[in-house]
Symmetry: D2
Subunit: 343 residues, 4 copies
């Protein structure tokens, strides 16, 4: 059994992680921390877990956390980096679901996240936890940076293209739509039902924190800097990301269906749909899956890729459990055999 | 032209009031106040009003407000009462859309609202602004207490019954469902789309502030204290209240269709539907209307009344404008000829 | 392994049943039938099941179905009764998720469902599949009538009261709110998002088909005919039923918290919440659970019971799997250890 | 007064048109036709109009329709063209809210709409009713083809760019998101709340009927054929279209804010927002407005344009009324002074 703790269990990625861990046959949950809710039973905050989880939130205690095999951070940006060095020293392995270890360049990180990085020396060691790219490194990693939700949907939709040099990488476009759970469980006016319901809008067109993360991943895959326009939108639903990706190729995009099928043939959680499909976000609601469809247009030069995930699962907690499975030698599907909830 | 000011224009009742006032042919809007947003153009906060309103939020200035013919308070509970005495002294008339002047008994008010009342001496003068009950008094009033949203839907659905003694008033039940805009525009976790969407729940079963207000109104109409069970629920939509009302009569409920038709025959904003109807909240979305349907059951003793309003219109801003029309001798429909928005 | 077939797998109870059966460790799914979709891969209609189910819809073949251990009918009302006699004769056991075998009295059934009953002789044998009432009979049954969604929520919320004689059974009220999936997957104007979204309404106040079913169950429990007013409402969400139940007791309701706690102490899927709770439908989204909270009012004579289920799980497919577990001697929780999906 | 008839008043564009016409001070509504609902009071189908409209649906009678000054067709595609020649002959002017007269080339029309055109000889005369382009022609027109919803949002967002030659017109991209009312009021599975709610998907990526319409309009404006990729998406809300438009310029996009401000300076219903804005669809809910924001990116070569409308108003019924105002010499704003409904 893997001894596991969750730091910061009161947000949406936290409760989703608890749902998945509660069902995982190889996991023994030791602690769920929250400074604000310390002492409260987890199930009082999340009655959906009644009967599945019998723990109270506790203060984060480095000694107790450090004694675990694995500590998940489902905290706001900037928290994991303050505890990571000590916990690693004590022998725990870490998966950070926030952004602290996603960018390799500390100065870029500091520019986008607006604070000094507390342990830049760990950035080189941290493994970017996208199993479809870094499976072998994840298996060995002490510290895994779980990818962001948009970056997961966009990278999985573009990787086969940029890895193979099949498209021009200077003019990629990612038009992304997210449900509001991506904004977190904090009190805020903008994501009230009365504000975000029956409404659709773009936001952060001038620059979103996930842009450097996506660019970093795609540039590594392309072997050179990519040019990407990224426009996120808020859509009036709770879960789900839909990435509509546009790529062009002066020489023609070729048989992209075969390209994707081959690239993801052995991936348990990437599902390339038949030609002509339109994946729905609800097909992955609650599921650790990315569904992708390819639409090469009649002009022969333009490709539209549709990529959907549940932002809280393959875009956060599910991917974290998938990383844990890889790190600890479990079947990668363990605890993640959950079809999407339709309707 | 009526010179009008709105104190507290940043909430949902505020912006709805501004929408209605911007179209009102007899109104000249002088000021919209907000301490927090002073200096901001109203349209920067509410772009829907671009082209209709060219004012900036200002600090509430008693002198300027007092020079108006009418001041609306679309503020949180407890604000209007601090300014009311001075503004009345300066000659302005007031309509409070909050609860400060709704209850006649200051001690009951203080118990439910958890603060001392700043001007209990005005409670006797304040007129409860339900035009279907108090039209004549409203016309003369200096100070109108605009009813709450639940109290409007419930009272309009029960008044003909309790006024006529047609039902037993000891066991009335009001099972009410509200859209989330009733909770206001403040940042809060409970009304996030990701919390209140795809979810239904009751709240405050042990006691809601609108309970004493409804009881007061119905007891006045009945000529004796009524017994009412009131259970409010939150439903995953933005606007609308649906009150499902249960009443019993040991002697039989009689021809309630005729009773209601007669009671509301001259009411411009109460619409008694044909027998067998099921009013939809969307039929009054954006409209100053209450639609009512009557379902006497086969047992002859039980009556189900269905009553719907838009909580922000007939349940707040629209009713306030209706009161203004009455107070200033305008056609009661002026500025309120707006059908519901379907779909 | 239990050899199982699903007749009528294209509706919402069908796809939910497939989701649950695909994960069930003791089930071997033999066939999923649909006349309209025969030949289509199940996953083409429901991509959420890709990777979990590798069957195509087939024509219903009595021989093949009769060779199964268990046949679920997730068909419209009136279908199961036409096939039941033959399948029983061939040795299969049946669970009908529709209404064909729910009412004991064929003439009452025919009145409410508007067609002659094809096999009234089976009504006496059929067991009403509410495990909390009929567990022992279900274990032995050849033919189980899976309860309706409203009847499950209402009966579980009232049973301890009527069984114990704690309340007056002549004036029970069930004010129920359902998500739109309860209306099924058929094309219809009334449940379009543009009709049912941002809208709330009551329907069928004059009489709903679940009324005789609830009355039958409660009358059996009370030992006499009960008087129940039942008003269903449509709420703008997909899954979930919230029943708000009103009961009165001339002699006082007593300690209902203890009554319910004791009544459901050994029930794996009924969760009595602490006093003062307000259960949310989302706490059971996708989960086979009924959560109940009790609110005795200050007058000492009125009790409000709040009861929530997922209409497609404890109100349909989950309860059917629970019944299967009981019928075949599996752990009653088998395949049903799934917490609600929050958010 | 303009004598007006509406053919096909039972759909969403129909009821929205009736809402607007009911309030229009220069309109006298003579007839609302529907073969299916002939004899039914309009308000029985749409209770929101109770008190505003006292007509019953009637059979379409060419004589009666032909005697009107103006006939609106809010019918499915292919209906207006069967009646247009006769009604024009009788002296009525026509506005078709469907697609029958939008494309100049009958063979292209027939290819996309899958039926022979009944009166191709009228295509040359028909005026494409986008006032921002064809105001003068509309004023004189006998027959106006009201633009589609997507084409309105996309063209208004791109016209200043292609008219001025400011961007490369070979690689334009329109990523569009629509509320479900765009799919109409017909019974259908795909737009049930239980299907389209909590879900996001692209559709018709291979080719949507609005593509040739947009291409035609932009090509006329550019003076040459444009290359446009158009991907429509369905978003879980009722009203609203959000077009996210991507354009590139090898030579730099220049001061597009000034370009748009000048182009639309005199347009009553196009609102160019300040730099950095993110228009919300709800800001135009129920309003005849198009709000546009411009985001030139840091690379100097890429421009993102955000354009929002209410698909039923500026994208259909409101634009039709605007066209009527132009055709009959009314103030263009007449009957259209309605701010968006927030929240």
């Amino acid at each position: 059994m893997i001894k596991v703790a969750v730091v910061g269990g009161t947000g949406y990625t936290g409760v989703e992680l608890l749902r998945l861990l509660a069902l995982h046959p190889q996991v023994e949950l030791q602690a769920v921390t929250s400074r604000a809710e310390a002492g409260t039973a987890v199930c009082d905050l999340f009655p959906s877990l009644r009967g599945y989880l019998d723990l109270a939130f506790s203060e984060p205690d480095p000694e107790r956390l450090g004694a675990c095999d694995l500590v998940f951070f489902a905290t706001p940006n900037g928290v994991a980096m303050t505890l990571a060095p000590e916990l690693l020293r004590r022998g725990a392995r870490l998966i950070d679901l926030a952004a602290d270890f996603r960018l390799r360049d500390a100065s870029v990180w500091e520019q986008w996240y607006g604070m000094p990085h507390a342990c830049p020396e760990l950035l080189a060691e941290a493994v970017y936890g996208l199993p479809e790219v870094n499976r072998a490194s994840i298996a060995q990693a002490r510290l895994v940076a779980n990818p962001g939700c948009y970056p997961t949907a966009v990278q999985l939709g573009l990787l086969p293209l940029v890895e193979s040099g099949r498209v021009d990488v200077d003019t990629l476009i990612a038009d992304c739509k997210s449900g509001v759970s991506g904004a977190g469980r904090g009190a805020s006016v903008a994501t009230l039902l009365a504000e975000a319901g029956e409404n659709f809008k773009a936001y952060a067109v001038a620059g979103h924190r996930h842009l450097p993360e996506i660019r970093q991943g795609l540039s590594l895959a392309a072997g050179k800097a990519v040019g990407l326009t990224f426009v996120p939108h808020l859509t009036p639903m709770i879960r789900g990301i839909h990435a509509t990706l546009y790529a062009r190729s002066a020489s023609g995009v070729g048989d992209v269906q075969a390209l994707f099928a081959e690239r993801y043939a052995d991936e348990p959680f990437v599902d390339v749909l038949p030609p002509g499909s339109h994946p729905e976000t609800r097909s992955v609601k609650g599921a650790n899956a990315c569904r992708i469809a390819l639409h090469p247009l009649d002009d022969g030069h333009t490709l539209v890729v549709l990529s959907v995930i549940d932002n809280l699962v393959k875009g956060a907690a599910g991917q974290a459990v998938q990383n844990m499975n890889i790190m600890f030698g479990c079947d990668e599907r363990s605890g993640l055999r959950l079809p999407g909830l339709i309707p």
